[in-house]
Amino acid sequence: MATNNRLKTRIRPLFATAIITVCGLSGHQAIALDDAYPTYSFNGFATLGAVYSDEDQADFVSSWLLQPNGAGSTSEWHAGVDTKLGGQLDIQFNTAFSAVLQVVVQRQEDNAWTPEIEWANIKYQFNDALSLRLGRTVLPTFMVSDTRLVGYANPWIRGPQEVYQLNPLTNLDGLDLVYNLELENGRNTLQFNLGETDRDVVQNGEINARNVMLISNTLEYHFATFRFSYLHAKLDLSIEQADELIDAYAMLGNALSLIPGQEANAAQAEAISTRYLIKDAPVEVFSVGVKLEPGNWLLMSEWGRVSDTGALAEVQGGYTTLAYHFPSLMPFLTLAEVNGDTPDEPGLSTTGMPTPLATEVNQLNQGLNALLFQTAAAQKSITVGLRWDFHPGSALKLQYQYIDTDKQSPGRLGNVQSGFSPGGTVNVFSTAIDFVF
């Protein structure tokens, strides 16, 4: 009796002041008695993290497009790589209609901790199998895209960058159609997303994806999960480093076309500027993933490939994580690799140019190659880590990553300084406490 009364009285104040009071409630009290719609539930997640890197000419960042700096060159230890706070409000209007709002605070491309609306959508559940969401939803490129920001739900502190950086976009404004088929020993989920998204990136840049179409299928069977996804979009990407180079080639092309004898070079300069411009460029992302959880073991592996798009070379990456669940400790090991087919770009020929101009063109060519290597950045890494579920809803994680960057690029490091020499190794130590509440 007492329990029932408690439940009923709790629902009433929620009606009146959902947004205000909801922050103080834990997630488990969303008592959806049939006569009590709408119901509200609030859940939150947070990560407090710190990262150390021994590379002093570049920064370890969660994504080189999304974070302007991090651990290493900027400061040996950095707390802004993984730290974040998120809150999610779920409203169930009736058995079919519901809505979700998720707001996340994390360090943005301009170093500010600006709250962003990660998800805001309404959902209509037609029946057990079919549902439609409209609004801002997750962009489910990879296996843990859904919980990419919720450290607690993932084994590692952050998804292996070799794969998860292949697509820095995390949400989509549009529609999301899910067809769920319940099987005797599992479930199959077919998902279709359509929409567009844009995001500010480093170097005063912006990434814009339009006509995004993503189809993915997840089969859960016994202890195994198999997933694939295919994404197609039209992409615009502007960052200062790339824009300046591309503009310089275009201007050079114009100037050279006025000089007798330089017609061939003019045409080549023009071709280079067109070739590497990322404007309305079609891009494809293909990914497959497998997760096996027999007993206390966890084996997880994903592979993804992004097609060649302007200055972004074709890149492919993969990782495998092996972990074992002890009652509250989980040690894990991750092997990962990413590499790109950097175009063999000789740059603009300096034939027949006066020496001062030739020198400038050579510098431009070097800049172009540096950009191409950056976007196709290759690295291999080994990570060993430990997750300790020390308290309900809280996990402490420690992980050490040994990164081997390729000979010509800074790998997946960001904020690369002029003194950086490629081909080295980097030791990264990360620690984080993840909460859900």
Partner: protein, 129 residues
Amino acid sequence: MVCFAVTNVHSEVVVVVAANTSISEISKRQLSKIFLGKSRRFPDGSRALPLNQREDSLERDSFYRLVSSKSPAQIRAHWAKLIFTGRGQPPKEAADNTAVKHLLVNNGVNIGYIDRRAMDDSVKIVIIN
């Protein structure tokens, strides 16, 4: 941890429904799906509305070990996944065995679990096969 394991052995949970419910047996697999948010239905197609016990209660630990062989930490991470994918909320929670029996009888939910020693005729044991 050893202490927990020993206690768990002695806390035998039984799956229960309201006494007037037609369900009398269920497979362990179906039970696991219902309590992990992977299925909304009983095998006969009727709506399943599960009720959990308090987090960290012995009954809850024993129950989830029985149906899913996952540790409390794994279960918590599982629910975090479902909540933050917008795919569902964990089952409602009751404070103790008495509250489970009360809520089953008074609707809103229709399947739960209690310590065998708390059994009385207000609820019915469901056989797991």
